[in-house]
Amino acid sequence: MPYHEFECSKVIPERKQHAVIKGAGEDLTSCLPKGYLNTIPGTISERGCAYCGAKHVIGTPMKDVIHISHGPVGCTYDTWQTKRYISDNNNFQLKYTFATDVKEKHIVFGAEKVLKQNIIEAFKAFPEIKRMTIYQTCATALIGDDIEAVAQEVMDEMPEVDIFVCNSPGFAGPSQSGGHHKINIAWLNQKVGTLEPKITSDYVINYVGEYNIQGDQEVMLDYFHRMGIQVLSTFTGNSSYDDLRGMHRAHLNVLECARSAEYICDELRARYGIPRLDIDGFGFEALGNSLKKVGLFFGIEDRAQAIIDEETAKWKPQLDWYKERLRDKKVCLWPGGSKLWHWAHAIQAEMGVKVVSVYTKFGHQGDMEKGISRCGEGALAIDDPNELENQEAMRMLKPDVIFTGKRPGEVAKKMRVPYLNAHAYHNGPYKGFEGWVRFARDIYNAIYSPIYQLSGLDISKDEIAADKGFVTRRMLSDAGLSDEIKSSPILTEYTGKYDSVTDLRAKTYPEFERKTAASAAE
């Protein structure tokens, strides 16, 4: 096994099994780090907890819901608005956060009474909202509060409301991934099948594992609607609570982030016979294939092809403008979970960069299988890294840019390595054909930002040339390009708008005739 031992982690020998370098001839039977295990004492993990994984990744993107944490206020306040999962109802779920504000006296005497008071108070404060999710935290789990009983009591007293209880306290797994698992299964067991949806198309899907980061879901829904497909629910970005209760009526589950949501797809397949189709919404070729596969499933592949042709013609020359300027740039692809495999091959094939490292904070070995498969030889793969390991890897690999979260990202910036936010994006959405160009544009802007020339100068000792200005981004990126590329009339920089999402909300779509009168009457 080609394990890689970090100098900084020699004092934690168990860490050695969590990093590998893919060598010549290595495959998955010889090159795979450990994963999804409890963090080793002594290492400073970047992981989140199982409560956070349940609430802030999967629960809270639901848009028409009061999301309340039953526990100390810090559990919800300190994690409030750390994601950019927007919604088309004025971002209700981002603007407001709720907690029962459990204190020491509640730990001693019980917190069920304060929970009930808070539930009623929250519904009264927002009378237009009739749905609620409640999240267990470590403190209230340890004292044994019966949240389900309290929720049922409120629903009996207020029949117009519906409440979902997520029992995933912070300690319920090695990382946030434990929370993803728990809320998947809890939603399926408690809520799926409790509401019959209205079917309006012959082609009905659930779009699963998509959280509408900066509008990703709305971009993908635009494609599906142009194909005449009814998206019954999105699990869970920009989705309605009640839409997600009707997931059992879909013909197909289209799965994007398998890391966070494959559990509900697998259970829907086992319990309801709904097939699971894994797709990639990132990258021209992968996205084109994804739309085509959904189209093929329903026999409407011509509609998918029309979208692919139109979008590719419009955006490919702009993607290629950036590709010419990003060739051979070294990338550390260090996201949380699924993007290490969503992006690893696509950015190399379509943007010309080279992935020199992948890591995952909370991914499982299955994610590393996908990520390592999509990387080339020499790539360093790290599971659950700590900050010192990241710094050592950056010194060793000398990347041109890092795609990661904002905490390790700020560390990278201090080492004068540009970073892009892989979780919440810089200027997304990054899904869709246009989104992929926006991503390339952000990479270009990061790598060639003039600030990295200036930040390397120390005015207390370095000689500063006073007779010339700094080199601009374009001067840097075009220095080695041929005149043919530089003056190409076909290749152009990104021409889209600052906000590529809002207009989609007002868009109308063609009505496709349904196959039979009987099906139309459903």
Binding site: L28, I185, A258, D266, P275, D278, L296, F297
Partner: protein, 114 residues
């Protein structure tokens, strides 16, 4: 080009571009590998493909995309007869089962529940 190189090219495409082979449990991976590769072989050999259930149809859509990509990228496939294609695809299936199931180091493959 020898068979080993051909096999490597076919496998490389799957591992870099596909996701269907990476369901989280061994029992599902085996079903996926059989489902998709059987139908891909039928498509490459111009044989009829039967899709009696939605699950079969789901395997078929991945098979259609895989067969198209193979034909487009690997022109040597067009020079092979059906028997040779079936033999090659059988070897591919065995190799994929080894990489993703039987030789896999993924310790979660045998977990009983999802």
């Amino acid at each position: 080009m020898d068979d080993a190189t051909k096999l490597e090219q076919l496998m490389d495409y799957i591992m870099k571009n596909c996701l269907w082979q990476f369901n989280s449990r061994a029992k599902d991976r085996r079903k996926q590998n059989v489902g998709v590769l059987t139908k891909t072989t039928q498509l490459l050999c111009d044989e009829p493909v039967d899709n009696p259930t939605p699950l079969d149809k789901c395997y078929w859509v991945d098979a259609v995309c895989l067969a198209e990509a193979y034909r487009e990228r690997y022109p040597w496939l067009a020079t092979m007869d059906k028997t040779a294609i079936k033999t090659l695809m059988q070897k591919l299936h065995e190799r994929l089962d080894w990489l993703t199931i039987d030789g896999s180091l993924n310790e979660e493959l045998t977990v009983q529940h999802y």
